[in-house]
């Protein structure tokens, strides 16, 4: 039972990590990014490449891939998203536009990955040795993944809630119309938020690749789960994403262990459905 809890937390930690990125993109930049999961998978493949071709370990890969994720997404925002933001008459229209555009982007990224890497399952071996934790054996890479997720989550929460810059981002999420009245450059905040979300996606990809096999077409399922975590935790709430992510990871692991591994997605959806009926604004959103 204990190893399920640990595995559940590891998986949940990764979900929390990626959901943080998506909740920032959706809550602050107001972009519903359906290609988010594919960004994660792209980072998985990049880590794999660095590891197998250049013998660069995932931890070192972070140093390259996280800034890369930031800059690439900054570019995507400037070129693709900004024109949509400018022309959208209201939030609803922007949402529809961003859904459509990122849906197309999803196919582009997936297509590129398929062309380069093919459709098979990929993985690499890193820190596979088991470590004793509370009486049960856990793979070292999973522990590292969990540690990284929690550490990054803690740093992000600290930055968002303690720094002036973080306060600006939160202000834009909460009151986008009023933010400019306080001298906040909402465009810059949105740009930064989108890029930051991308950086978190890249981090999530690196972390995930350490212990999970991945495939070029796996992005959709990831995006879906990240979306559900975002809604569960409340749109734009990073603490919410962390808790909801951990929860979902636990639910999925327990369903796989005690019910059936083939029903994990169904269980995630069941949670989503229950949430929609009871508290659509999330566990932590405004009721």
């Amino acid at each position: 039972m204990l190893d399920h809890i640990v595995n559940g937390l590891v998986l949940g930690g990764t979900y929390a990590l990626v959901a943080m990125g998506l909740t920032i993109q959706y809550g602050i930049a107001r972009i519903m990014n359906l290609s988010f999961g594919d960004t994660i998978i792209a980072a998985c493949f990049a880590t794999y490449l660095l590891f197998s071709a250049l013998n660069v370990g995932p931890l070192l890969a972070l140093i390259v891939l996280v800034p890369a994720g930031y800059l690439i997404n900054l570019g995507i925002y400037r070129v693709i998203m900004k024109p949509l933001v400018t022309r959208a008459p209201d939030d609803g229209a922007l949402e529809v536009d961003s859904i459509l555009v990122t849906f197309g982007l999803l196919f582009v990224i997936q297509g590129v990955l398929l062309t380069i890497f093919g459709g098979g399952y990929t993985s690499y071996s890193f820190l596979n040795q088991p470590i004793e934790v509370l009486g049960t054996a856990v793979a070292a890479n999973r522990l590292l993944a969990l540690g990284l997720s929690l550490a990054i989550g803690a740093v992000l929460v600290a930055v968002l809630y303690r720094s002036r810059w973080g306060m600006i981002l939160r202000a834009v999420a909460v009151a986008p119309q009023s933010a400019p009245l306080f001298g906040i450059d909402t465009d810059r905040a949105a740009r930064t938020a989108f890029a930051l979300g991308g950086a978190l996606a890249a981090t999530g990809g690196v972390v995930l690749s350490m212990f999970q096999t991945f495939t070029a077409t796996g992005g959709v399922v990831f995006t879906m789960k990240a979306l559900i975590v975002v809604i569960l935790g409340g749109k734009g709430s990073v603490p919410g994403a962390i808790i909801a992510g951990l929860l979902l990871g636990l639910v999925e692991t327990f369903v796989a262990a005690y019910v059936d591994p083939g029903l994990t997605l169904a269980s995630v959806y069941a949670v989503f459905l229950a949430l929609l009926l009871v508290r659509p604004n999330g566990l932590f959103g405004k009721a």
Partner: protein, 304 residues
């Protein structure tokens, strides 16, 4: 064009299309079949997602349900009942999705439909493996390409008629109002949730039937075959290219894109995902209302 001219013209074209398989090769019948299928999918998709702006990404979920229902029931029930069952199942799934998401903001609907195909596929696979102990089903219906084509042609006609009919009634006005401003629509007396639900169920049922009718094309059906995400993507891009708010928009978008799709899958099979994705992004950027609307704008003097 006034209806008094349009109807006989459309009727004549329909007769010509129906007669086609008697004069052309099997290959071209297959092309017409595929194209008619997509015209139906795109028009049915636009029926709901066009005016309400609730983007449904679940087209292939319903398509697959239709096809798979036929695969499961084709030896147990007479064909008309099989089709009716497929339609019924599609409608029920649409009701579940609709009742849980349509009274909320559009994004919940999108999220639900985004993963729906994958969810249904996985659930069906699980069911087949663990409950019925089968993997894959056989469709033994005595239909040739032309028979499937004629059925699809009938369905396409029905779909277009439904779309045309709704546009002329109160319901069409309500739909447009809902897409513009739900609060104002509600204050005018429109039960917004009920209208959305009705349209979504109609749209989903038509899509389910399209899949059901096409099932005999694959003699052997497995979940991974009929729940192919490309179908959802193609439907969307076709409807958007032509214009999701126009009666003929989806048809106008479906025909050229279908040919492009066929050509790409032969010439650039590994890249068509990328090419279509880029094309889609371009359409959202430059022609979000579709080609027909763009042409109209240009004729009016170039104001976008």
């Amino acid at each position: 064009m006034k209806p008094i001219h349009a109807f006989p013209l459309a009727g004549a074209i329909l007769v010509a299309l129906a007669a086609a398989p008697l004069f052309v090769s099997d290959y071209w019948t297959g092309v017409l079949l595929g194209m008619t299928g997509y015209v139906t999918l795109a028009t049915a998709w636009a029926l709901f997602s066009g005016p309400t702006r609730y983007v449904s990404l679940a087209t292939v979920a319903f398509f697959g349900v239709g096809a798979y229902t036929v695969a499961v029931l084709n030896e147990t029930l007479p064909y008309p009942l099989v089709l009716a069952s497929a339609a019924g199942i599609g409608a029920v799934i649409a009701l579940v999705v609709g009742l849980s998401t349509l009274r909320l903001a559009g994004v919940y609907f999108v999220i639900f439909t985004f993963g729906l195909a994958e969810l249904v596929r996985q659930t069906v696979s699980w069911w087949e493996v663990n409950v019925t102990y089968t993997m894959g089903r056989y469709v033994f219906l005595p239909f040739e390409g032309r028979h499937i084509y004629w059925q699809l042609l009938a369905l396409a006609t029905v779909t277009l008629l439904i779309s045309w009919g709704i546009g002329r009634t109160r319901l069409g006005l309500a739909l447009q109002a809902i897409g513009d401003d739900e609060t104002v629509a509600a204050h005018a007396g429109i039960d917004v949730t009920r209208v959305k639900l009705l349209l979504f169920v109609i749209s989903a049922t038509l899509i389910t039937l399209t899949g059901a009718i096409q099932a005999p094309r694959w003699t052997y059906i497995e979940p991974s075959i009929v729940f192919n995400p490309t179908v959802s993507f193609m439907t969307l891009i076709m409807a958007l290219l032509g214009g999701a708010m126009r009666l003929w928009g989806p048809l106008v978008g479906a025909i050229p894109l279908f040919f492009l799709f066929e050509w790409l899958s032969v010439s650039f099979p590994d890249h068509f995902s990328i090419i279509l994705g880029l094309l889609f992004i371009l359409i959202v950027f430059w022609m979000p209302q579709g080609v027909l609307a763009k042409i109209e704008d240009l004729r009016k003097g170039g104001r976008t």
